[in-house]
Symmetry: C2
Subunit: 390 residues, 2 copies
C-alpha cells in the first residue's frame, strides 16, 4: 500500500476527529489496521490529530520502518509516545463497538488522564466513502466475481444437493482468487463464504440479519444450504462474498433447473425493475429511506410484498454499505435519513421468495459517483436456465 | 440437542457461578449460546443459579417452547424476568472478554441494582472439560477429518501452487461435511479454513498466534499459502480446522513430493517422539508447563530447538485446548500451572521447520481420560510421500 493512500485514509479519520475534539486514536482491530496501515498486524496504530501515526507491532517480527516500533504488550505504548515527544491525548478514541469490554478497559487504563470515547462510529463513517484506490479494488473484485459466476452452470450435475453445488461454487470463487474469509461488523453474524439458497430452503429463517436465511447444515451454523436435492422447475440463488482483495464485493444471481413458473419470471423482473428504478434515482443527496420506500411501493403494487426479502421472517432492508466488511454504512432501510455521498459503495438486493420455486431477484454492488451510481458487478442478470438433461 | 445434555452443560456453569457468588448469567455470544442452548440464535439465555434458564430470541422467529420468549430488543428482558417471578440478580455475569464494550455496557445498564462481573473466564473454564456427547462429536469429527486427509495425495498434480492445492483440500474437507467456518476466541486471530504450508513459506511469520504462519495471499489476510509452486524434495503440512459438528477438531499431517533429506525424516521422528512421550505422561493432574518443558528438552537434545515451532518467529506453545473454538483452555505453554482434568480435549502439535524443505511434525487431538489420554484423530502419521511422475 502506498503511503499517499494511507495518509489519505488517516486524514479522513482525522477530519472527523477534529470535528469532535478528539486529539488521538488508538486503533487495533484488524479491519481498521488494514484500513489505516494497509495490512493486518497484531499491534496498535496510534493516530494523533496533528502528528504522523506511530505503529506498535507485536507480530509479525519482520516489519520495520519509520515510526514503527516493536512491542511485547500494550503497556509499552505510553513510554514510546513520550519518547516520540508527543503529549498524552486530552480526548482519546478507542474502537468501542469492536473491542471487547475487557480489552477496551485495558487500553483505556493506559491513559488515566485522558477522556476516552468510542471511536467506532467515526471510523465507520470515514470508511463509508471509499478512496479511488478502494473503488478500483471493488472494480477488480467485480470482474473476478463475475468470472466465477459465469462458470456455475458448468459445475452443476443433475441430482446434486444444494450443499454439493455450494462446494463447487466456493471452489470456483477460490480459484478466481477469493481469500475465502467473510468479514462482518459485530460479533453476532456468522456465515461461511456466502450462501446458495435453493427452492423452499430460501424461506427458512436464520438467526442472522442477512437478506435471506436458509436452514443450514447444523445448529452450529444455522444459515444457508441444508443438503436437499435441487429440483427441476426450481431455482437457486448464489450470494457469495466477493472478497478478492480485502473488499467484500456483493453479488447475487439466480439459476433455474429447466423452466420456472411464469410467476417466477414476473417476480424476477419486478426485482430488476426495482433495482433499475433505484439506480436511476440514486445520486449524492438521495436519502436512504427514500430508496427503501421506492422498493416497497413497487413490490406492493406488483403484488409480491408478502414474499419480498423472505417469507414469514422478512429482512427490513434492501441494501447495505460494503467495504472491508459486508455490513458498512449506509443501510438502505426504513427511517434511515442518511444521504448518499460520492464514493459510497453499497449492495442493492431486491429479492422475492416464491414457495415451491425458490428465490428470484438480483444483487449488485454500486459506487456513488458525482452524478449518480455506477454498477461494479457486471454479469448477466436474467435467470440463467440450466437445461434439464433427458 | 437433548435437554439432559443442555442441563448438564448449564449446571457445569452454575457450579462455578455458585463458587463465585454469582446468581445469574446473561449469555448472548454465539458459541456460548450454542453450548447452553444447543443452537445459535440471535438472542439471550438468562441463566439463574437456582431456576430454569429463560431464552429470549430475536431471530429466527420459528423457535418456541417452554421458557422461550420472543423479543425485539434486550430492554424487554427485565420485564420478562419479573413476569417469570424471578428476582433481579445480586451479582450478574456477562461475557466481558467477548462482548464489545458498547454491548456489555448496554446489557449491564439493564440491571442497575446488580453487581456486574466478567463471566467469560468462568464459562471458558466450564467449557474446558467436555461432556461425553461433546467428546463423541470430536470422535466423529476425527473420522471425517482423516477421510479427507487420506484423499490429499489424489488431488495433487505436479506443478500446482500451494494455493491451488489448498483449494482442493478445502473441497475435500467440505465434501466430508466440514461446515467451513473456523471459530477463534478473541477478535484478533483470523484464518480461512486452516492452513497449508509448503517449503519455505512455513517459516514466514504471521500476525496471528497460530503454531506456524505463512505469508498469505494478500495483506488483508497475511497467513497461509502464498501461491508459490510446490517443489520436488520439499514437503507441505496440512493443518485444516476440522469443524464438522461445531467442534474444532485439529490435525496436521505432512506430505512430501518425492524424497526429503535425511534430516527431515529425523526431525519428523523427533516430533513423533515428543508427541508420544507427552502422551505417555499426560493424565489427570499433569501440569501443562511440564508437558511443554518435556518437548523443549527433547527438541533441544535432538538439536532442532532453533527450528521448533517456526524459525525466527517461534510460537511459545506446543498445544492448546479445543472445543467450539480452536483456542480453548488449557494452553500447553511455559509457566502454565494448570493441570489436566478428565474430559479436557486438546491439540498437541510439535512441529519443526527446515529451510529449503518445509515443515515436518504432527498434530493430533486428544481427550483426557481417567487414566491418561486418548487420540481422537487416527490417521497415518508418517510423512506421506507423493511420487514424482517421470
Amino acid at each position: 500500500m502506498l503511503q499517499p493512500e494511507l495518509k489519505l485514509r488517516r486524514d479522513k479519520i482525522r477530519w472527523f476527529m477534529a470535528q469532535q475534539g478528539i486529539d488521538a486514536a488508538l486503533i487495533t482491530c484488524n479491519v481498521n489496521l488494514l484500513y489505516t496501515f494497509g495490512r493486518i498486524v497484531s499491534g496498535y496504530l496510534y493516530l494523533p490529530l496533528n502528528s504522523p501515526a506511530l505503529l506498535f507491532i507485536k507480530r509479525p517480527n519482520n516489519i520495520s520502518g519509520e515510526h514503527i516500533f516493536s512491542i511485547r504488550k500494550p503497556e509499552q505504548i505510553i513510554e514510546l509516545i513520550t519518547e516520540n515527544n508527543l503529549p498524552m491525548p486530552t480526548k482519546l478514541m478507542l474502537e468501542g463497538d469492536e473491542l471487547s469490554y475487557t480489552e477496551y478497559n485495558r487500553l483505556a487504563a493506559l491513559f488515566p488522564e485522558s477522556e476516552i470515547v468510542n471511536g467506532t462510529p467515526l471510523i465507520r463513517q470515514a470508511r463509508s466513502t471509499k478512496t479511488p484506490i478502494e473503488i478500483e479494488m471493488f472494480h477488480r473484485s467485480g470482474i473476478a466475481h463475475a468470472k466465477a459466476y459465469d462458470k456455475i452452470p458448468s459445475v452443476y450435475h443433475p441430482g446434486m444437493t444444494d450443499r454439493e453445488l455450494a462446494i463447487e461454487v466456493e471452489r470456483l470463487m477460490r480459484l478466481e482468487g477469493s481469500l475465502g474469509i467473510f468479514r462482518v461488523f459485530g460479533q453476532s453474524m456468522e456465515i461461511f463464504m456466502g450462501s446458495l439458497l435453493a427452492g423452499d430452503n430460501a424461506a427458512n429463517p436464520s438467526p442472522f440479519d442477512f437478506a435471506l436465511g436458509g436452514e443450514g447444515l447444523d445448529p452450529a451454523l444455522p444459515v444457508g444450504v441444508n443438503d436437499t436435492p435441487i429440483k427441476e422447475g426450481q431455482c437457486f440463488m448464489v450470494d457469495m462474498g466477493g472478497n478478492f482483495y480485502g473488499y467484500m464485493g456483493d453479488m447475487s444471481r439466480v439459476y433455474s433447473i429447466g423452466k420456472l413458473s411464469d410467476e417466477a419470471y414476473t417476480a424476477h423482473q419486478v426485482c430488476l425493475d426495482i433495482q433499475n428504478e433505484i439506480a436511476s434515482i440514486a445520486k449524492p443527496g438521495t436519502v436512504c429511506e427514500d430508496m427503501y420506500n421506492t422498493a416497497i411501493e413497487m413490490v406492493t403494487k406488483a403484488g409480491f410484498a408478502k414474499n419480498f426479502m423472505g417469507i414469514g421472517q422478512q429482512a427490513r432492508f434492501i441494501g447495505h454499505g460494503i467495504g472491508l466488511e459486508i455490513n458498512e454504512m449506509p443501510v438502505i432501510a426504513p427511517r434511515m435519513k442518511q444521504k448518499l455521498e460520492p464514493g459510497m459503495v453499497f449492495a442493492l438486493e431486491p429479492k422475492i421468495v416464491l414457495p415451491g420455486v425458490g428465490p428470484v431477484g438480483v444483487e449488485n454492488s454500486w459506487v456513488v459517483t458525482n452524478e449518480g451510481v455506477e454498477k461494479l458487478t457486471i454479469c448477466n442478470e436474467e435467470i440463467v436456465e440450466i437445461e434439464v438433461s433427458n
